[in-house]
């Protein structure tokens, strides 16, 4: 019996957006992709909706990252970026800098460590992370420990270095 998608949607949507955001680094795009993933789930009715969603989302984000890299130079800034609606310029600068540092720090992780960390942060269990990453369940704790340490170390190094910002 497939999960109740409406229920999953309520509970998982923000986490899925967050998960995607840390892959595509564009809030609106992350929402778009999350909604697309749910739209597909509505069609496929997978058995394990949540797990399925994150697999699909991860795939979409990977394609997206490639495409975004290609298209980035074509982008022009909109007259009114949505974020400007919510915050003052000072907040934006701080938030932007912080985001860049986190992004740079995440880039220092191996893909598998990063994936495990993002999935954990999205609320997935060790069992779910194991299924999605192909890691043994018993290895998840070690993976997360390493991922956390690298993230914090790289972030702090970025703070000290000052110049160390996102390369993408």
């Amino acid at each position: 019996m497939p999960d109740d998608i409406a229920e999953v949607y309520r509970n998982t949507y923000p986490a899925l957006v967050r998960f995607l955001y840390r892959k595509v680094w564009d809030a609106e795009r992350a929402e778009d992709l999350a909604q697309e993933a749910f739209a597909r789930a509505l069609v496929h009715r997978p058995e394990n909706t949540r797990g399925w969603l994150f697999v699909v989302a991860a795939n979409m984000a990977r394609d997206e990252a490639r495409r975004a890299a290609r298209e980035k130079r074509h982008l022009t800034l909109l007259k009114s970026e949505p974020d400007a609606v919510h915050s003052t310029p000072e907040d934006d600068i701080d938030a932007e800098t912080r985001t860049k540092r986190v992004r740079a720090a995440l880039d220092e992780l191996t893909p598998r460590d990063r994936e495990a960390l993002l999935l954990w942060d999205a609320g997935m269990s060790y069992d779910e992370i194991a299924v999605q990453t192909g890691l043994a369940r018993g290895a998840i704790g070690t993976t997360l420990a390493r991922a956390r340490r690298r993230l914090v170390d790289a972030y702090d190094a970025g703070l000290e270095g000052g110049q160390h910002v996102a390369r993408g």
Binding site: D32, S80, H86, R98, V102, Y126, G141, T142, A145, R149
Partner: protein
Amino acid sequence: MSHVDEGTLHAYLDGELPPAERTALETHLADCATCRATLTEERALRERASTVLGSARPAERPAPPLERLRREPKRSPWRVRRSFAWAASLALALGLGYSLRTPRASTPLQTPAEPFAFMQKGGTSTQEEKPQSQVQSQVPSHVQAPAQRPPNDRRAPRAEDELVTRGAPRADSSAQVATRVRGAAAAAPAPRLADSIRLEARVASGALADAERDRAAAPSLFVDGAPAPTSMAANWPVISRRVAKTILGEEPVGLPGLETRTFRRDPGTNAVVVEQALDSSTVIQIFQRPAGGAYPYDSSEAAPANASRARPRANEAEGLFRERGNRLFARFVRGLRVEIKGPLSADSLNRLLEQVAPLP
């Protein structure tokens, strides 16, 4: 028991250690000061990592109603912009710049007929009530991530099929054209040839009756960034928020964080408009009314251009209304049908519309 490795400690801190191991660990911790110290360190690390990661998060916005997603896969604004360019140039190349034929041909034409209009226009004759944004979203489905489609994705033929099977000449012929144009633009990665060809055949075989063509062309003439003409709502009576709520049956919606200047009421239909200032010189109007009613706004002020054109009622019920040089896009927020208008680019307006939410 030798000292515990950090992986086990993290699993323990994450609450993911199997019960037997957890008991063993806790027993060990009671005796081992070294491991207790390590646990304290790892706990701090875990929290720190969580804080660092948490500092890079998107602003949380409410999820759109699940129902809206059923036929509405979202598009990339990036790809939309790219397809704009394609559609615009191809539309001109194909001689679809019917804007020349509109009564207001004197409007500057430096900006090509904005292809967004094509998409907005799409689906105007569908029987079912659906926000036009759905239509725009459906259309480029094959443009979107053709390389990545999960296995068993049976959704593939979406917009094109719908357009084809809805049958008979209709008002959304412009959407077909736009679809085909964008289809051509995206043909390289995803040759959905059958659909493209069918559409092409439809267009070529004269599905664009003259009358339709006129109608299709009418709203496509926009000048990006043109100042908004006098608003039709400018003379509507100002009301209080409380009254607005009473009229709507729920809290009025707007852009959170923006200064709300005025609530007004359309004396004819009891629709409500919320006027908000984006900056000192840019005012956004957010029209709203309970969903399901007849579409209230006729093009009364743009009448000279549109009066002779006798747009069918169904068209207006679709919520697709524009003044020249201005734009109005629609979506649903809770029980309200919401439209937005302002002197911004179509893209900007759409992005703002996405953020509309009940006012705090």
